[in-house]
Amino acid sequence: MSLENKQISSENTSNFKPLIVAFCCNWCSYAGADLAGTSRLNYPANVKIIKVPCSCRVNPNFVLRAFQRGADGVVIAGCHPGDCHYTSGNYYTRRRFTLMKNLLEYVGLEPERFKVDWISAGEGNKFAAVMNEALEQVHKLGPNRKLRDARWKR
């Protein structure tokens, strides 16, 4: 299936446009996003990218805050284990968010709404695929209400 086809056309099914917040490591996935862009791979516009110096800079609070203030899904993207610009940052990311993801699921969040993945600077394709998949799955689930602050308005 081509990426174009895989991309969901949210307008058809409903007018729900999922909002995905993606924390991308400056040294790999952020560049991967760039590559996806320059190679004209489609990835959805409602993925909001936040650049971080390393995936291990992502504080679990950031993830929660994103869900509180409107995110329907959150993705953290870092360098592949072994490739960290700072040698070992992503190994910490891996442990931290393995536990965090499980904890979030334990309090009731759907697993599809929170993802971590490894995307190198050369993997423009993978970047688009990961984001599209995240979007597609979140779209299926519908708008997120869990952890969302009721006072927040789009």
């Binding site: 805050r65 891996r94 442990r95 965090m100 993945d117 993978k126 602050d149 009721a150």
Partner: protein
């Protein structure tokens, strides 16, 4: 326990008399049968009021952070769970081992006054006495005997370390308590079995009881940050509004911040004035750590790295979705 209580008093008295320590942290008895409360004693005479009974549940080790700000030597009585808490404080560089003398108290398990109340036995109760595995309730009308397990704190029923893991002097023989680990994760597993929506509904209901009093945090030996993010108005996370999302935020972060450092003392659940089962969050993390990174009993051996302080190259990787490569 009375014999050991005598030893507690004597040990404290001697320690102050011969200048081994400048201050003693122990427990005293208040107005009610359940009222055993922390005592801070600097004079020899004061040691006569020290006690050791089935209600000495308050953990004294966290007080050391504050007490050791003065340049003094402190003698402290610690039970099993308290000793693990002490080790965790040590590990987190919050106390100085050389300034503390630890008197270890092998712990027969503490009695939960709430369970006594619920059983309708609290009325007119004058005293509660506990032997090996029996508890005797004494009222004006007479005595009633029960199995001690019935009235033990939940945390004591699953306690794996009733004997202090660190001490300078042990005041009694080690106790043998064969609490099986069988039920350790029972509560967690029950929740894991639910669907995401059921789990969410369960926790929303629990969290919505929270009054944000911070008792769970303040009592916790793993929560010893100089400035908690929830006290830092500049961190912009200290929202105190009574809304679901703030409560969820607080609880997820609290549990996560002690991940790998929680000594499973159960104090958070015990002190929560509204009865939120916080241990079910901590235990979930302990369970995952055990499963993914191997058993780690925080506070048992302070020379080991906490699971989130370290990593292994071959750690499990639940995230890799596609093989590496491509463009």
């Amino acid at each position: 326990m009375e014999k050991i209580a005598n030893k507690v008093r004597e040990t404290a008295r001697l320690a102050l008399a011969n200048g081994e320590v400048n201050k003693i942290l122990g427990w005293k008895k208040g107005d009610f049968w359940y009222d055993s409360y922390p005592a801070f004693i600097t004079e020899e005479e004061g040691t006569a009021s020290l006690i050791w009974d089935s209600f000495c549940v308050a953990n004294l080790s966290k007080y050391l952070i504050e007490q050791l700000k003065e340049d003094i030597k402190v003698g402290v009585f610690l039970k099993g769970c308290d000793a693990r808490a002490f080790n965790q404080l040590l590990k987190d560089n919050r106390v100085d081992r050389d300034k503390v003398v630890i008197y270890g108290l092998p712990c027969p398990g503490m009695i939960d006054p709430e369970k006594v109340k619920k059983a309708g036995l609290a009325k007119g109760l004058l005293d509660v006495q506990k032997s090996e595995d029996e508890v005797v309730f004494i009222t004006k009308e007479g005595e009633q005997k029960f199995s001690a397990r019935e009235f033990a704190y939940d945390k004591c029923l699953t306690c794996q370390y009733p004997n202090p893991v660190v001490y300078d002097e042990l005041l009694a023989e080690e106790v043998e308590r064969n609490n099986t680990t069988e039920y350790f994760y029972q509560d967690v597993e029950e929740i894991e079995k639910m669907s995401p929506d059921e789990r969410f509904a369960y926790w929303v209901e629990q969290f919505s009881k929270c009054i944000r009093c911070n008792a769970c945090r303040n009592v916790c030996p793993a929560c010893s940050c100089e400035k908690c993010i929830f006290d830092n108005s500049k961190a912009n996370v200290a929202g105190k509004a009574k809304v679901d999302s703030e409560e969820q935020f607080f609880h997820i972060v609290r549990a996560y911040h002690v991940a790998g450092r929680c000594v499973d003392c159960g104090e958070c659940s015990r002190v929560c004035p509204v009865g939120i089962p916080l241990a079910k969050l901590n235990r979930k993390i302990i369970k995952d750590i055990t499963e993914f990174y191997g058993e780690h009993n925080a506070g048992v051996n302070p020379s080991l790295d906490a699971p989130l302080e370290t990593f292994k190259l071959e750690d499990i990787d639940p995230f890799e979705t596609r093989a590496k490569g491509g463009k």
